[in-house]
Structure formats: structure tokens, C-alpha cells
Point group: C2
Chain length 357, copies 2
């Protein structure tokens, strides 16, 4: 069977070496004669996996000691309300920038827990750009941002000027580039884009963000519960955490997040250059806000979509159908996507133009 | 390497065939050239896995159409509060039977959401028996039970006489025996004992239990959200659900839950008979309440614990150390444990008696 290049938006491509090692651990973990799936989460062997996952998160993102790392469940969708439940009450005000489907959902869930204000939005242009130049109210408890928008294919390349702590949904670009950690009060990310399989959610929280709300929180929804118990208050999602740890090891071996950024810029340039050059396609997102993770584009000629997807498939490029709300195509080129993969896709686009222009 | 018999309490033993098929799907799912870990949860192939998992749950437990099946995350620990949040408000009353650590936690979390009453408890005897003969108040909204207690090693072999709908934590004995489904309003179970790896939680809920509370519930915590979206409101934990589905297929292939019950009774008899016969050991739980899933026992002679665990280990029997709150030993003999496994353990006990009595 020929090599497949997986351009799915998420769950998404993982490094080959991570997949191979994960499959081996399911069959027989490090020669223990037991599957990773059937060992105790309190055993020394898994505890060291969890510790390594936390340590690698700190190392890769350069986290100071006052930032805590958690591996929870429930996806970013659970963080939409957990952030507000833990950080916001009737005496505060949460400010949101609405850049797409995911931030819209975050706003909806936060409203149950205290005052919220949408201070900027690109909704009127179907989220095809990232708002800039807005002012963040000085009395804001936090500013919620979505760093990358998988559906429209936009990404925030600069943070707004503000002293307000940022709460950021980094589900689709965590570990893809260095971050200025001091700007953030809380970061969350579902694993299934750039980090691992579906089933765990990374939360990074600065200690002083917690304990400031006038609300009794049930144990499982209180970040402090999980901080105190090192993400093992209850049985953590063992396998998704293990695979995420392996992915972080791989990122480190490749040179860390700075090397990832360089690699991702290189790949994105190949695809965007081809889109801009090719008469059959055009990009969806505003050029200055183009995502390095999710490249969205549409056909300029009617009726060619199906044929183009078939041509991609024939070349081993899969998962390229665009999200139903945008249409066209979407090439998700997360960390684990190779230069070879994007070159293959660019070649398909060129060949397709020759045959159909 | 010799065969290992995994007696861990959870995450726990899974059928060999399930582990093998899971490892293969991680490497290359059904020859698609893609790992199960990197495919879309909205793709037809995974949607059919989720549908099969739901259908097998219904078939194995004989669920009528008014019971809905959900695969969520967050473990039983999340159900401790979600049940109360969705079913209980200030106008209701939740009655609890306290049979161990897990029910105690369920009671603690429920209190935040409405009136609760502990109508029976075996706490005064360290939860070594299951309370019986208590009366369930006629005005109870629901009666919460824990069908099997992994720590003390007790199991409920008969349901109390009541017309009140039962909410039951079946984390450690789901699919181990037939159930009288009409008695239950809601059943929940973390996967990592009898069903799959850590990372998904099965919830079975009777439709009429929902929509009766005076409370606004955030989307992710509202059972109705997940019912409406067939457990795909957000990205479900793909891999843990897949492995659970394979385990259910295996249960069906073995003859279903009635066959499991027979198999489990046979295995439990072997171990309990040896405990009762052997002068070096005695059981922890009251005889009539002994669990068919978690066999707890202690040494009758001082200073032999370490040597016994070493003898077990030498024979390939692992995970037998008792929970810290009970001490001694615990043999968890879930569905996937073979007769050969329990016979091996019984033989170790006999040999150990000969050498140490």
C-alpha cells in the first residue's frame, strides 16, 4: 500500500514513530507482558509517563514554576465552561474576541457564570479575518482568545496590547510555535490536533488565577482538585496521555517548538504559494491572518471539487474536504505533516490545473 | 516470556483478542493505511464504531427503546455530580446507600444540587457488608446504589424492594451479569474495569428521568445535549470507545452477560473456596455479600504478605496487592480473567501454605 498523507482537521496526523510506539505499547508495554491499556494508573510506570508529559509541557513551552499543567478530559468544549466557572463570577467581567465557531461556543457557555462582553468579532465576514486594534477594558477579569480557527483557517499572529491575563483556546496550534507565556493566565487545548489522539485535554493555569470566585465548585470541575492530585484525582485517560507524551518527546527531538514553527512556516508557504499561483484555486482567509495549521481554499471554477478530491485521493492525500460551513477544501498541516506531504499536494494542484484549466 | 495473569482492580485485564485488535488498529486501521488515532470522528468508519457500541450495549443488557446510551468522558467521578445536577433540585430528594469509598464520594458531590439522605450505610464496619432491609422513602426522587465495591470487595446480589427509580454506579461489574433494567432510571460505568481502557464512561438513562429539574445546565453537562448528538456533540474519546466496542463484541461471542455470570461465578468459587480452606488466608467481606469481581483477603499469619506477593509474581500473577485502606490482597477477576488464571492463583496459595504453614 502506498503512503497516505493525512490532511484531516482533527483527530489528525501524528508522527509515524509515535503511532508505531503506541501500537507496540498496546500490544505489550516495554516488554512487561502487559498491555498499556490494562495497567494501574497508580503504578510507578504510568506515574512516570504522566510526570514526563507534565515536564515536557513545561520544557517545550518554557513555563515558569507558577504555571501548573493538567491533563483532563472533556475536550476544549469542557474548558469553555470550566474556565468561566473557575475564573469568573458576578463581580468580574470576561471579555471575548469572537473569531469563529469555537469562540462563539465558549462565549455561550461562559454567560452562565458571570458578565461577559464580546469586544471584537469578525462574524460579519464569516470569520475570514482576525479582528485587531480593539481595546481591552481595564476592568476585565480575563480576555479570552482562540489562537487558531480550524474552520475558517485563520490564526492570531500577534497578541493584542493589554495587561489583562489572556485565557486562550490553543487546541489547534499548541506546540506549533513559541509563546510568550507571561501574557497568559490560562491555556487549554484538546489533544486531537497537534498533541495526541482524542481523549485528553491539556490545561495550563497560572496559580494566581484561581481561588478568586465566590462559588462552590464540585470537585471534578475545580482546577485546584486536579492540581493537588497531579491530574490523578480520578483515573486519568491513560492511553491518550501516553500518546501525547510520546508526541512531545518527538517535538523535543526535532528541536522543540521553535523548530516546529520554522517547519510549519515552510510547509504553509508551499501550499499558500501554490494556491495564489494556481488559477483554479483561491484562499479563503485574509492573507495576513492565514493559519499555518489549517489552509482553507476554494475552487475558482464550478464543478471541479469532486474531481480535485479524487485526484488528491489518488496521490494518497486524504482528509481535504472543507468544513461544511466554508465549503471547498482544507489542508490541515499540523506539526506531524511532512514537507513531502505538502509537496505532494502542491504537485496534485499543479497537475490538476494543467488538466482542467 | 511467560504468560501474565493481571489481577489489577482497574485499569484492568482485557481479552487477549481485544488487545491484539486494538494494537493493530493503532498501527493501521483495517488496512486503510491510517491509524485509528488520526481519523475523523465524523467519518463513516468511526461513526459505525460508535453506533455498534451503542447497539451492543442495548443488546447485551436488553435495553428497551426508552433507554438512551451515551459514551462520555470524566469517569464515574463526573457522574457523581452529573446525576444529581441533571436529576435533583431543591424540590426533590436523593436517597443514597453508602457502601464504600465511591458511594461516599457520590454523596458528597450530590449535596451541592439538592437534598440528599443516606438511608443505609455499612461504614461502621469498614464497608465489609452490604446493608439490607432498609426502607426507601416513598418521596425519593431516586435511590443511588453502587452495585460492586472494588475496595472492600462486596457486591449487591439483590436489589432492595422499592418502586423508586435506581441510579446505579456499575463501574466495576457492568456486563458481568444480567440486570433487571426496568428497575433502573440511570446506570453509569467508567470503562476501565469490565469494559475497556480508561477514558470513556458509559451512561444509560431512561428518558423520563430527564428534564425535571429547575436549573440551567451548561451544554456539556446536560445529558440531553449528548442524547441529541449521539455522543458526538464534541469529539468523543475515539480510541477508548473503539476498545470498549471490541470488548462488547467479545462478550457477545462468549454468549452474552448470562454466560459471563456463569463464568464469573465459577472463577469466584475457585478463589473463595481456596481462601476458606487455606489456613494462611481469610476473606474480608461478609460471605453473603462477596464480590464476584474483586476478591479481598488478608493473611492470618504475620509477616507473610511480601513473600506471598513474590510467589504470585513468580507464577505470573500480578496486581494482587490490596488497597491501602483494607490491606492484604485483592484478586480482581473481571470478565476477561480466565479460569486458568484463577486456578494458577489458587495453586500458588496452596503451594504457599505447604511451604509456610
Amino acid at each position: 500500500m502506498s503512503k497516505k498523507y493525512n490532511f484531516s482537521a482533527g483527530p489528525a496526523i501524528l508522527p509515524d514513530s509515535v503511532i508505531k510506539a503506541s501500537a507496540e505499547a498496546v500490544a505489550n508495554w516495554d516488554g512487561t507482558g502487559l498491555s498499556l491499556l490494562e495497567v494501574s494508573h497508580r503504578g510507578a510506570k504510568f506515574v512516570s509517563v504522566l510526570e514526563e508529559a507534565m515536564a515536557l509541557t513545561k520544557e517545550l513551552l518554557g513555563l515558569p514554576d507558577n504555571y501548573k499543567v493538567l491533563f483532563l478530559t472533556g475536550g476544549a468544549s469542557s474548558q469553555f465552561y470550566m474556565t468561566a466557572m473557575n475564573l469568573l463570577d458576578k463581580n468580574g467581567k470576561a471579555c471575548y474576541v469572537d473569531t469563529g465557531t469555537w469562540s462563539t461556543k465558549a462565549i455561550k457557555e461562559a454567560k452562565l457564570f458571570g458578565p461577559t462582553e464580546v469586544i471584537a468579532s469578525s462574524k460579519e465576514q464569516n470569520f475570514q479575518y482576525v479582528p485587531k486594534g480593539y481595546e481591552v477594558p481595564k476592568d476585565a477579569t480575563y480576555l479570552h482568545l482562540t489562537s487558531n480557527n480550524t474552520i475558517s483557517g485563520t490564526q492570531m499572529h500577534e497578541l493584542p496590547i493589554t495587561n489583562t491575563p489572556i485565557v486562550c483556546d490553543m487546541s489547534s496550534d499548541i506546540f506549533s510555535r513559541p509563546i510568550d507565556i507571561e501574557r497568559y493566565g490560562l491555556i487549554y487545548a484538546g489533544a486531537q490536533k497537534n498533541m495526541g489522539p482524542a481523549g485528553t485535554t491539556l490545561v495550563i493555569v497560572r496559580e494566581d488565577m484561581l481561588g478568586n470566585v465566590d462559588r462552590e465548585i464540585t470537585s471534578m470541575l475545580d482546577y485546584n482538585t486536579h492540581i493537588k492530585k497531579d491530574s490523578s484525582f480520578n483515573t486519568p485517560p491513560v492511553f491518550p496521555i501516553f500518546v501525547s507524551m510520546l508526541t512531545m518527546r518527538w517535538i523535543k527531538s526535532q528541536g522543540g517548538v521553535a523548530a516546529m514553527a520554522k517547519h510549519n512556516e515552510e510547509k504553509a508557504a508551499i501550499i499558500y504559494n501554490e494556491i495564489d499561483r494556481n488559477s483554479l484555486f483561491k484562499g479563503v482567509a485574509a492573507k495576513e491572518d492565514r493559519s499555518l495549521m489549517n489552509v482553507t481554499f476554494v475552487a475558482t471554477k464550478e464543478g471541479i471539487e469532486k474531481d480535485f478530491l479524487a485526484a488528491c485521493e489518488a496521490a494518497g492525500c486524504v482528509g481535504l474536504k472543507g468544513h461544511r460551513s466554508v465549503g471547498g477544501f482544507r489542508a490541515s498541516i499540523y506539526n506531524a505533516m511532512s514537507i513531502e506531504g505538502v509537496n505532494t499536494l502542491a504537485q496534485v494542484m499543479q497537475d490538476f490545473e494543467k488538466a482542467n484549466a
